[in-house]
């Protein structure tokens, strides 16, 4: 008697009862059900929702593990910096150490647990209330959330935000697959606007920095974007390699561009994410960055300008810092909230990249604009699709109207006419 059979029997036993969806959910969550379709012919494919979600989670695991090490590393690095010790990041020397891992796991894993606990509890609650199956949609959201918040986010705030995001961002629209906004980003946006002091500044990115603030052991860690936004470019000690490998302060999972790149390639290889969105988003951000670089080199922006630090930042480096890479790979490619048509995906992705960099540079209140850009484009995605589809219909209509009706008599003549119309 395997667990699967036990669950199946429980499911049968509770059929029609109020709690049935909960058992059904557990069953379908862990196993593929025995039931087959009852009518008609169906094509059975392996890439169901569960498989899709698990693929994304697999792509996120390296990022999470790196985030755990980085959380510990940034803490010890900030302590060293406060004591005047200059630290050179090296992968095996001082990054992949047990100290870092334990410190990081101690701070990051509670975030993961709270995110999954609260989110899945609400999913089950709504499934039981509405009598439908629990969808696997929250699996990815629950993993994304701890990766896009600062390490020291208080757990109750995260719980409130997750509850808000899952209910307002997803359940009111009808659950997984019906949501307009990306739930993980809704949660991030809620945290950002509700508790801004915990989401920005130079204290929140390093574990314990908030607790120790003002004391003799005070530590801090400013993000690269933070340095640039304040015009303190010269004080920043991070090299391009640090930014690429991810040895910089930031939200838990967003720092390592290398691992995000690998995760992105994995998603593209498994065809879970859309390469069109990724490519166009990268292009959009590069173009916006280039425009700013040109504006600086043309002398329109002088060093006294508040925007100088960010505008003079080389265009390609925008992809290495902040959440841009993470957002493009894991958030913008969300198949539910993104554009559905191929041409729509190009437009959708392009504007995500463009607006991300635009907000990043021009709005000093939000040193990071990726989540706002993606949420904005989430709202516009249906509109984009609508016009793409309409444009397609119009083009075909026009072609149908202009097409010449071929005469049926005389085969040689018909061939000639065909050649002319094509």
């Amino acid at each position: 008697m395997s667990l699967k059979n036990n669950l199946h029997q429980l499911k049968e036993k509770y059929r029609g009862k109020k709690m049935a969806p909960a058992f059904n959910a557990l069953h379908t969550f862990l196993y593929s059900p025995n039931e087959t379709t009852h009518s008609g012919s169906h094509i059975r494919a392996v890439d169901d929702l569960k498989r899709t979600m698990n693929t994304v989670i697999m792509a996120l695991v390296p990022v999470l593990i790196f985030g755990i090490f980085n959380a510990g590393y940034q803490h010890y690095a900030a302590v060293d910096a406060a004591n005047g010790i200059i630290r050179e990041a090296s992968l095996f020397g001082n990054f992949l150490t047990w100290d870092n891992f334990i410190m990081g796991a101690w701070t990051v894993l509670p975030l993961v647990i709270v995110s999954y606990g609260v989110g899945l509890a609400i999913e089950f609650l709504f499934a039981v209330m509405k009598g439908h199956e629990v969808e696997e949609g929250y699996l990815v959201t629950g993993m994304l959330v701890p990766l896009i918040v600062p390490v020291d986010t208080p757990l109750w705030m995260l719980a409130v935000a997750v509850a808000f995001g899952v209910v307002i961002g997803k359940e009111v629209f009808g659950g997984t697959g019906m949501n307009i906004l990306n739930p993980a980003l809704t949660i991030r946006a809620f945290l950002f606007f509700a508790y801004p002091t915990w989401m920005s500044g130079d204290k929140v990115w390093v574990h314990q920095a908030v607790d120790l603030a003002g004391g003799p052991d005070a530590i801090s860690g400013e993000t690269v974007l933070g340095f640039l936004a304040q015009g303190k470019t010269s004080e920043m000690s991070y090299s391009v390699a640090d930014m690429f490998y991810g040895f910089i302060p930031g939200s838990v999972g967003e720092t390592s561009t290398l691992l995000i790149l690998l995760g992105g390639l994995f998603l593209l290889f498994t065809k879970v994410a859309s390469w069109r969105i990724m490519v166009s988003a990268v292009a959009g951000s590069l173009i916006m960055g280039l425009i700013f670089n040109v504006a600086v080199s043309a002398g329109w922006i002088t060093e006294t300008s508040t925007f100088y630090g960010l505008m003079s930042f080389e265009y390609w480096k925008h992809l290495l810092v902040g959440g841009l890479a993470f957002g493009i790979v894991y958030m913008a490619t969300d198949p539910v909230t993104g554009a559905q048509t191929n041409r729509g995906k190009w437009i959708y992705g392009f504007f995500i990249g463009l607006i991300s960099v635009l907000i990043r540079v021009f709005n000093p209140a939000y040193p990071e604009g990726v989540f706002l850009a993606i949420l904005l484009m989430n709202v516009f995605a249906p509109t984009i699709d609508h016009y793409v589809v309409k444009g397609n219909i119009n083009r075909r209509l026009k072609r149908a109207k202009n097409a010449m009706v071929l005469p049926t008599d005389g085969e040689g003549k018909a061939e000639k006419l065909k050649a002319e119309t094509v």
């Binding site: 307002i168 606007f193 509700a194």
Partner: protein
């Protein structure tokens, strides 16, 4: 004989729940989002609208047979504007600080769709007493929602109610703040007011299924 007939009672009570101007007709949303960050402002706004609407409906109803229908909107505007200016002046005289908080929104009562809507839909076609009841009822329905939104926004956003620190002092870290609670800044922003309105609509419609529109 009862003070109010059954029909009159319905005029007064329907807008409070099943025909609420904000949650059912979705009118007057602008002011519901703009001034509800504090409970006090919500209450003053509710009372101001109650006055303007009760009086306005009476005046329009009295004049309903002599207003040429071609210029009725202008006449209605003049009536509302007069009443609004009275409210504005009273507020400036007796509650100056508050009138500064409400700022332009007292003046914007003129454009409150509920008022013009009731003039057009009810006062122009009904007697004085019933128009008065209708005005009071609709203004109360508007006010109730305003107060509910204001209550939650002030409580969760600032931790106060009518200015009293009911959840403790955030700076001295007393009460709830001593265990790490923090005010929700999002509550003070207008988008959250819209979401609160949405939640009220959700609750109301799940309690009374008859209100759900078919589509």
């Amino acid at each position: 004989m009862a003070l109010l007939s059954k029909k009159d009672t319905n005029l007064l009570l329907d807008p409070l729940s099943d025909n609420n101007p904000i949650t059912i007709q979705v009118l007057g949303i602008c002011s519901a989002l703009a001034i509800t960050a504090e409970l006090k402002a919500s209450i003053v706004m509710a009372i101001s609208v109650l006055f303007v609407m009760g009086m306005g409906n009476v005046v329009i109803s009295l004049m309903r047979n002599i207003i040429p229908s071609k210029i009725r909107i202008i006449v209605q505007l003049v009536v509302v504007a007069t009443l609004v200016i009275i409210v504005d002046q009273v507020l400036k005289a007796f509650a100056y600080e508050l009138s500064k908080t409400l700022s332009v929104f007292v003046g914007l009562i003129i454009t409150n769709c509920i008022i013009m809507g009731r003039f057009e839909a009810f006062a122009l076609a009904n007697g004085t007493w019933r128009s008065f009841l209708d005005g009071i009822g609709n203004a109360a329905g508007y006010g109730v929602i305003l107060v509910i939104i204001g209550f939650f926004r002030e409580l969760l956003g600032s931790g106060t109610l009518l200015g009293y620190k009911v959840l403790g002092d955030p700076i001295a870290k007393t009460g709830l703040y001593s265990i790490g609670y923090e005010n929700n800044g999002f509550m003070l922003l207008s988008p959250m007011a819209l979401i609160v309105v949405g939640l009220i609509i959700w609750v109301q419609r799940s309690r009374n299924k008859a209100l759900i529109e078919e589509n």
